[in-house]
């Protein structure tokens, strides 16, 4: 699942995931919509922006980790929030990995590979 309030970034991430052979990709515009979609879809990975209206990516991460069903779900934060304290905050909230915008497809793929077992 790709979560970002800007369709541009959702499309960029979707394209990279498609190239990596991810089959079904669903999209949400904010944390609230993402939580709703989590209830009705089998999700193997969350790729989320940080700065979004209604519910931020950090809040989404905390909600996901607090839920017994989703606490082990790979969660990749893709964000322009690149200051040290942001990264520390995300790590404390148990983010799986962190991609700083702007990024190349190679960097995204490398960060993703560290949290998704090969062949999945």
């Amino acid at each position: 699942m790709v979560v970002d309030d800007f369709s541009t970034m959702r499309r960029i991430v979707r394209k990279i995931l498609k190239d990596l052979q991810f089959q079904e990709i669903i999209e949400a515009e904010n944390g609230v919509e993402a939580l709703r979609l989590l209830e009705s879809n089998k999700v193997d990975l969350i790729v989320s922006d940080w700065n979004m209206p209604t519910m931020t990516g950090l809040e989404l991460l905390k909600r996901v980790r607090a839920d017994e069903r989703f606490k082990g779900l790979p969660f990749l934060m893709v964000t322009a929030e690149a200051q040290k304290e942001n990264i520390i905050e995300a790590i404390q909230a148990k983010v799986s990995n962190y991609v700083v915008k702007p990024f190349s497809p190679a960097v995204f793929t490398e960060k993703l590979a560290k949290i998704i077992p090969q062949g999945q």
Binding site: D5, F6, S7, T8, I12, N51, P53, A80, K84, E85
Partner: protein
């Protein structure tokens, strides 16, 4: 008051983001102080900034420039200034502001940013948050021109 040392990271970030995400080389022109709200371009996004300084950054594109950049960014051709192209202006603004804040944080200036607002149309205006002078920097690319505007007030 606005210190020029706060502006350079925004210019470096604009070049870095466009190169990394859209493979576009952007060359900055001569900065100038802008006194009115009129945007020199067809579509813009503005993002509010707080923290060590209070202000905003705006990114203003000519139609041809952003259509070509969005085409590079998303890998599909755009021939009109539609919702998807406008959305790209917002995301580019978000990324440039974020990269600039990361650079400024390395010098001890910690800033937070809001969510970009997109505005457009011939003769549209940009309302910066700070009342002080706004520094405008034109950029040239092989796709056309765009502008970065930065306006700050506060202690930085």
């Amino acid at each position: 008051m606005m210190d020029v040392k706060i502006v350079n990271p925004f210019l470096a970030a604009a070049m870095h983001v466009l190169k990394t995400m859209a493979q576009v080389d952007a060359k900055p022109g001569k900065p100038f102080l802008k006194k009115d709200d009129l945007a020199i371009g067809d579509v813009s996004a503005i993002i509010g900034i707080t923290g060590a300084a209070r202000g905003s950054m705006a990114l203003i594109f000519t139609e041809q420039c952003i259509k070509d950049i969005a085409s590079n960014l998303l890998g599909v051709p755009f021939t009109e200034l539609n919702h998807e192209v406008r959305d790209a202006v917002g995301e580019l603004t978000n990324m440039i502001c974020g990269d600039a804040r990361r650079r400024l944080a390395e010098d001890g200036f910690v800033l937070k940013a809001g969510i970009p607002t997109i505005v457009g149309g011939k003769g549209h205006t940009i309302m910066h948050i700070a009342n002080g002078p706004r520094l405008a920097v034109p950029f040239e690319t092989s796709q056309g021109s765009f502008m970065v505007e930065v306006a700050f007030s506060g202690p930085i």
